[in-house]
Symmetry: C2
């Protein structure tokens, strides 16, 4: 069948509140730098009241990835739930404005649109506190399976595992895309998230996932090891492709027995690491669905990540398609 | 009496939506670069739907100024109306998080919190479309006159003139602060705004304003002249102090017969001019209420404006107090 979408993603539909913060603020609130903690509505309110002035940007891990794929010129769709409130309208606008399809109807009642408070410390690391709100209201019945089955790749964020209905929606979609000749990609999202759902993730990675994205902390957490090489050996047997990001050390792309070492791109001073992993996955999957070799997919991912960390917020303010075209000549792109 | 506030401001309480835009978008929508146009709810909705992805930041001209005065270490208060909605809560949070006082109760019904769509073109100029929403609901009866009369300076934005009740609130507050030994500062805000309300502004400037802020376009519009020198001669006789900003040419501070020429500060590449005038007024009024000479007030204003134009959005992401302390030694500050 003709596949209308390169990548369709399912994830939490979130608006980010980005705030500059000192290290001491993390300590005072018991937050672990670089990770994501879940908070309820009351905790979110209290935390927000104690935070400095913010900048709001549409976010959500998979949504960031799909927005970037659309900006790169890929055919992208997103499935995730907002509420019919102001932040929900902002989320929907920003995603559609990239060219991505987004048709999940907003919830008419219940909790507000999900919000993630992102504390950016002077070392440019981001630490996140998420109020999942309406995004937990994504039921399997709401899934637009016609969108899923018309996609080359279904992309899923590990964060979905924190909400039971969304997790069921995820599994239903994964079966659907594979039944129609598509593939499943998963991002492990966060080491604590992996820790909360380790058995479930291991089953996924071994039995349902074709392409895995993880950073060093997440892959170590998945295999409950402190040796990166051990984790690499494990994952190699489970997924056809695995992209393991290592911050300023670049990334590894594992393809069967081959290992591609991908250099990082440094495009300017490091400002905010929010969205680095999401952007890497976007560049990778864009290249992948264009039929490029795995090594080039990794390099495009690396370039997109290198761009987004030079600015505040998870979505690039520069034209990613132009960035890629400038970096990689059309001749090599056609390889 | 002891004055609890250095500066209290009255203005439209607005959340900005900042979007990168091409010049052609302005043409297609009949927008004049560098100015502010008013739009109704329907126009705002249509315009938003055609815009690219945005970044949200609390804004509002006078609110930006008061937020920056608080960040500089001044005692700042703001009066302006939001609705009890998500954007209203964001506005209130961001202002209070700077240390400014903000107690105007949100409207319980009526239009949503004001929103300003700001199109930032590749030349870093900003063009604004404002839906005034709840901010027009500021009546004189709502004014916290106790806050006004406890202030050294009352700061007012010209944009208030676009809403009749807010304008009456403004005049009531101006009388109140002067009756208690305070002074009145006014920003002319926008050349079209001046054009809409010229007679009213002329009366204000001649009879009610001690300190005037205007850029070149605005002061030319006020005196309906195309000669800057003519405008300078006029305004010199009307206000005790006038700060006339001229973008990259710096500014002039007129103090009686004296003219202080203030150099611009270039702190990095020009990214977005949103908030430049607001930040200039903040630096100036902070210095003024600390008892610094007019020339130094202008230089602090110039430094704050030079900072905010190196980033997206109207409120500085760097610590303005530290910036000023680094630039100006304590010895000269005490002059």
């Amino acid at each position: 069948m003709v596949q209308q979408y390169d990548v369709v993603g399912i994830g939490n539909a979130i608006v980010d509140v980005l705030v500059h913060s000192e290290e001491t603020f993390l300590d005072e609130h018991g937050l672990v730098k670089g990770t994501m903690a879940l908070v309820d509505a009351d905790q979110a309110e209290r935390l927000y009241a104690s935070m400095g002035p913010g900048l709001e940007s549409s976010g959500g891990s998979a949504a960031n990835t799909l927005a970037a794929i659309a900006q790169l010129g890929g055919r992208a769709g997103f499935i995730g739930r907002v509420r019919n409130d102001q932040l929900g309208a902002i989320f929907a606008h920003d995603l559609r404005a990239t060219g991505a399809s987004y048709d999940t109807p907003p919830a008419e009642d219940g909790p507000a649109t999900a919000r993630c408070m992102i504390l950016v410390t002077p070392d440019a690391q981001r630490t996140m506190c998420t109020f999942l709100g309406a995004s937990t209201r994504l039921d399997p019945e709401d899934l637009d399976l016609s969108m899923v089955r018309r996609s080359k790749v279904l992309y899923l964020e590990g964060y979905l595992w924190d909400a039971e209905p969304a997790k069921r929606a995820f599994l239903a979609a994964a079966e659907e895309v594979r039944a129609h000749g598509g593939e499943v990609a998963l991002s492990l999202s966060d080491p604590f998230c992996v820790d909360r759902h380790r058995d479930s993730f291991l089953d996924l990675v071994e039995n349902h996932v074709d392409i895995l994205f993880a950073n060093e902390h997440e892959i170590l957490s998945l295999y409950a090891t402190d040796r990166f090489e051990t984790a690499v050996d494990h994952v190699r047997g489970h997924c056809r492709l695995a992209a393991l990001t290592r911050s300023e050390k670049g990334s590894l792309v594992l393809e069967g027995e081959r290992t591609h070492i991908i250099d990082p791109f440094v495009l300017g001073p490091l400002v905010d690491t929010t969205g680095a992993g999401d952007s890497y996955a976007a560049g990778f999957l864009y290249g992948y669905t264009q039929g490029l070799p795995a090594e080039r997919c990794g390099a495009i991912g690396s370039l997109c990540a290198g761009q987004v960390v030079t600015q505040m917020g998870p979505r690039s303010s520069v034209d990613l398609r132009e960035l890629v075209l400038r970096q990689f000549s059309p001749v090599t792109r056609a390889a």
